[in-house]
């Protein structure tokens, strides 16, 4: 590291002050960017009694994780985390499975339809959710599923949320995956076809394993998106008990609005899983976001 900086330094000696200035600017901006989150953490670490007495802009007498543990236990947060898992895990897996099948079809078989099909999927993904929510809500109320879901309907059920997530997100994933599959050499499946491998084997044993990088990126992205979903659950779930964590947060804040520190702790707790995923899988997340955009 030191040798490279030395040579770099020699090369760009005249603009050295500019570099320092740039670093100062970037460091300042980065700190400013983290400040709102840092402020929330600071507030969440302080007991309500102290902040109500001394005000929020003050030195702390005591810092503790009490608000976090209280928010977690009092609002039964583990229950809502489980709700989210019940929705997010099947939704991510199913989205990847279905959209990779469509992508395989569209990118490997020229049945004329394919461009139109891809267009429908991609356009569908770009629509604002509110365009479809009114009929969707009515549809979910109309569909009776006695014995299959707890509510006896598609409305107010995890299944209903999984289905709309899959239907909506598969548009983006089909687009990205079909672009990815198109970069795979065509000889791969052709050879398999000549050998008499079935279409399913071509998909499952040849194409899909080669798409692992794209699938990993999309899985990361989808997990965060579905975890962060607020709107679908807000409208399509009526029982507070059935809400996934992000939407349940809204009720939580209503119940504990008198203690902003506790609400801050609760909100931060719900952000922890996404932050872990982000820090561990940052590369996947970012490449997933730019996968679709690069092609544009």
């Amino acid at each position: 590291m030191s040798t490279t900086t030395a040579t770099l330094g020699k090369k760009s000696a005249p603009i050295r002050p500019a570099r320092i200035l740039l670093h100062l600017f970037l460091a300042g901006a980065a700190l400013a960017w983290i400040a709102p989150l840092a402020w929330a953490i600071y507030a969440a670490l302080r007991p309500y009694s102290e902040t109500s007495e001394k005000g929020y802009v003050s030195w702390p007498d005591s810092l503790s994780f009490d608000n976090f543990t209280n928010a977690f236990t009092q609002s039964d947060m583990s229950h809502y985390f489980v709700n989210t898992m019940i929705i997010a895990v099947p939704a991510v897996l199913l989205t990847l499975f279905l959209s990779s099948m469509v992508a395989f079809y569209v990118s490997r078989f020229d049945f004329r339809l394919n461009l139109a099909l891809l267009l429908v999927f991609t356009a569908g993904n770009l629509l604002p959710q509110q365009v479809i929510i009114t009929p969707l809500y009515r549809l979910y109320l109309l569909i009776d599923l006695p014995g299959i879901t707890m509510s006896g309907k598609l409305y107010d059920s995890a299944l209903g949320l999984v289905l709309i997530h899959v239907a909506f997100q598969s548009g983006f994933c089909a687009f990205v995956l079909s672009n990815y599959m198109r970069t795979l050499p065509h000889e791969l499946t052709e050879a398999a076809l000549v050998d008499g491998a079935s279409v399913w084997r071509q998909y499952w044993q040849i194409v899909l394993p080669l798409c692992k990088p794209a699938m990993a990126a999309l899985a990361t992205l989808l997990s965060i998106w579905i975890y962060n979903d607020f709107f679908w659950a807000l409208v399509l779930i009526s029982t507070g008990e059935n809400m996934p964590i992000t939407s349940a947060l809204n009720n939580l804040s209503g119940a504990y609005f008198t203690d902003p520190n506790l609400v801050a702790a609760g909100a931060l707790l719900t952000a922890i899983p996404t932050l872990i995923v982000y820090f561990v899988l940052q590369r996947q997340f970012v490449s997933g976001l730019t996968l679709g955009a690069n092609k544009g």
């Binding site: 970037l26 929020y56 461009l115 929510i133 050879a191 000549v194 607020f230 609400v263």
Partner: protein, 326 residues
Amino acid sequence: MTTNTPTKSPEAAAVPPSGAAPAGTNKPSGHRRLLTRRDRITLGFMAGLPTLLHIALVWVTALASVALAFTTWDGIGFDSIKWVGLDNFKQLFNDNPQFWPAVEHNVIWFVVLIVIPTPLGLFLAVQLDKKIRFSRVYQTAFFLPVVLSMAVIGFVWQLIYNPDTGLINSLIGANEPGKYIDWIGDPDLNLWAILVAASWRHTGYMMILYLAGLKGVDPSLREASALDGANEWQTFKNVIFPTLRPTNTVVLVVTIIEALRAFDLVFVFNKGAQGTELLSILVTNNIIGESSRIGYGSAIAVVLLLISLVVIIPYLVATFRKERRA
């Protein structure tokens, strides 16, 4: 995104290269003849099942929105659906005091996002693209808000804007009765307060998109420009920015769609009270609000749909045309 094509699998290598059919040109039509009946059924299933789900839940419902917009319906039994022509739209355009403010706020939302955080994201991307030390640390900081849910962002910023306990009012001493600045309730202020939070997130998103775009810029262009004696700004303006055109298109579309979708943040902030009405909020209020008017809510959704399609269709046509040529 890795663009290097994977090496051939052994299966492919075992077969002699298939004549003069170069990869990349359109697929040979002989393909189809090799398919057995079972293969065709499998294929139909593979494409059909996801398409059915997507069309049923996204496109049929979108069309149903259009159809319902011309009716009134109480939601109980299909018999009570009544055709009312353009009544819902007339009411919406003429009698709804929230509609035009909502349209205006959606437009403001877009304009603010495209004028402030988007150029800022581009600026940060250009700086971070300079092979600078700690680039990843800076990126992580700027990008952090993008992974948070809009709901969490709403709660985090409430701690800053709350008139009693918030950071801003505490700092400037406006948290006492009589001196209140109500960032969340005041209709002249609240939209701008929320837009600061929205921009906080949007900047990082734009930065990542532009960083990806900048990675694709041929470094020799930059060298050639430097050799011609252009300074940094001239190089950016005349060489780099024009080559970012595809990224700019994506950024524009993403920003418009974000502006139309804006919902969570406002809902968490103040449920779309006066000053922060948005089309998405009005649609939702007609479902979970006190007044559940299906036809009327659908009419608002149709307005949203039309605006979206004006953006989506030209974008997709351009994208897919390019792809077909490629």
